[in-house]
């Protein structure tokens, strides 16, 4: 290498180049692990691509039926549609009312008692790990077929979500005002109410609206186990392969969710 580099007045002293840090072995192990899990899971669920090709003819007839909703069926779906809406509204209201105090108990920023905190968090994790459909099946047995069991299942589902998200935003909130309230002689509950609640109210409100959207979607399906709403209807028409009617129900769900989503996005902007 020549030392007479004309462009720089002083020759650059050659320092030692750092060697590229090696993550090779670890990355390779991670990739191998992921591929292995995927293959194992693929065998488990019986991935079968040829079957799709074989069934295609059968599928096209169904799809054509699905593209022609039977609008005459609409009046018969109104009660179930209304019930779905009622369930979603009621579950959202009860679920958020229960979640707010629980969220304060589940955040280390607002609950000074470590044992109570750990207990509340454990129960919440447990509730969140039960699929809504499992809650719904059990509750249908306990309180009977209909909207009540559906509402209860949705409430449990909502409490799990809202408590987690709101307690996380409490964890991240600046605790200065709370410290000031405590220094002024307030008890923890009062300090939390006055100093922390106003801070997380906007995030709570948007969680509630988000949960409402989830509830509309969920309340259309928990009826499959008898918990009220459109789900019961889906189960009926599906069993008898009435695809024109199924198609109308899907269309209804689609319109309902999209309309309510934009309504809730608008409300979020106006109220929060």
């Amino acid at each position: 290498m020549s030392t007479s580099v004309t462009s720089s007045p002083q020759p650059q002293p050659k320092t030692q180049r750092p060697t590229k840090p090696r993550h090779g072995a670890k990355s390779l192990a991670a990739v191998v692990l992921l591929v292995a899990i995927t293959i194992w899971a693929g065998i488990g669920v019986q991935v079968d691509l040829p079957a799709i090709a074989a069934n295609w003819r059968n599928a096209t007839t169904n799809i054509i039926q699905l593209l022609q909703p039977d609008y005459g069926f609409f009046p018969k779906t109104i009660p179930a549609l209304l019930e779905t809406l009622q369930m979603a509204v009621i579950a959202t209201v009860i679920g958020s009312a229960l979640s707010l105090p629980l969220a304060f108990l589940a955040s280390r920023a607002t609950n000074p008692r470590p044992k109570l905190l750990a207990g509340v968090r454990f129960v919440m994790n447990m509730i969140r790990s039960v699929p809504d459909i499992l809650f719904a099946s059990i509750l249908v047995a306990v309180v009977g077929v209909g909207a009540l069991s559906g509402i209860m299942a949705l409430v449990l589902f909502n409490v799990g979500i809202i408590v987690k998200l709101v307690s996380e935003s409490l964890d991240g909130e600046d605790a200065g005002a709370q410290e000031a309230a405590l220094a002024a002689g307030a008890s923890w509950p009062k300090a939390n109410r006055a100093a922390m609640l106003p801070q997380i109210l906007p995030s709570f409100a948007s969680q509630v609206l988000y949960t409402f959207e989830l509830n509309i979607r969920a309340s259309t399906v928990i009826g499959l186990v008898g918990a009220g709403g459109l789900g019961i209807l889906i189960d009926n028409v599906r069993s008898f392969f009435r695809y024109h009617e199924l198609s109308l129900i899907i269309l209804e769900i689609l319109v309902l969710v999209l309309v309510l989503e934009s309504l809730s996005a608008w409300l979020r902007k106006k109220l929060v």
Binding site: G176, A177, E179, A180, A183, A184, G185, A194, A195
Partner: protein, 269 residues
């Protein structure tokens, strides 16, 4: 507004933090009711610890502190807790370096936090404050000249205005003592003087005992009746501001003064 001032007595107070760090060493101090005291020292000298022992935010390891009729004891002594501790705190207002306001709610709601101790739980829960409490909060805002902002969100105010809201919050407590922990450290020089003058006025007009931590020596000398210098958790100076000359400050700081230790005369209002 009726205010009674309280005196503060430190008897052989030491604070050792759980990690072994010594915050305060054998402090003996008497602050008579109605005095305005400035505490100076380097950061880490124990200023913040000293102030926070007075309302029990930092528990003391040994010795005792009397605040008016209340007594805080070290380990082994009777501990002030629950309702009794809250009663003491309700008599002691505190102003913080970073204002510590709930920024998403109104100025008035922030000031009403000073009434939490005296309000029943259901009223706090519903936000249904007594008219007397609202009037008290308004009067407190009046004293710091910020009443027109009562229904604005705290976040919409400037730093100086936020600190004055914080002072109004302590006034709403009808305190016997106001503690201020570096109240002007986040403010620019002109605003610093406004806030210090508010504190001085409150001390003079209402007779409330005021204890204020300050980093800037000139501010401390100018606005307090008495200066206390802390170094490594010990009192190394206690006297009138006028007696504190350069050599005294060098003793407190353990080095000669630099431009960063004074706020300067720039832009005084």
């Amino acid at each position: 507004m009726e205010h009674t001032a309280a005196d503060i007595r430190f008897s052989d107070v030491s604070v050792t933090y759980p990690n072994g760090y010594t915050g305060l060493k054998n402090i003996n101090l008497t602050i008579p009711a109605g005095e305005m005291v400035g505490i100076v020292g380097l950061s880490g000298a124990g200023k913040s610890t000293l102030i926070r022992t007075i309302n029990g935010l930092v528990p003391i390891t040994s010795g005792s502190i009397n605040v008016g009729a209340h007594q805080l004891n070290g380990r082994g002594g009777t501990q002030l807790r629950g309702k009794d501790l809250r009663e003491l705190r309700s008599n002691v207002g505190m102003v913080f370096q970073s204002f510590n306001l709930a920024k998403r709610t109104t100025v008035l709601n922030n000031v009403l936090m000073g009434r939490l101790y005296h309000s029943p739980a259901w009223r706090t829960l519903l936000g249904a404050w007594k008219n007397d409490d609202v009037e008290l909060a308004m009067a407190a805002l009046e004293r710091v000249e910020i009443v027109p902002k009562a229904y604005e969100k705290a976040s919409s105010l400037s730093g100086g205005q936020q600190q004055r809201v914080a002072i109004a919050r302590t006034l709403a407590q009808r305190p016997q003592v106001i503690l201020a922990d570096e109240p002007v450290a986040s403010l620019d020089p002109p605003t610093s003087h406004v806030v210090m003058r508010d504190l001085q006025r409150i001390n003079a007009e209402l007779g409330i005992t005021v204890v204020v931590n300050l980093h800037f020596l000139d501010l401390a000398r100018r606005y307090s009746d008495r200066l206390i210098g802390l170094r490594s958790g010990e009192v190394v100076f206690d006297g009138a501001g006028a007696d504190a000359d350069e050599s005294v400050f060098e003793n407190i700081y353990g080095r000669s003064l630099t431009a960063e230790d004074v706020l300067g005369n720039k832009a005084e209002l």
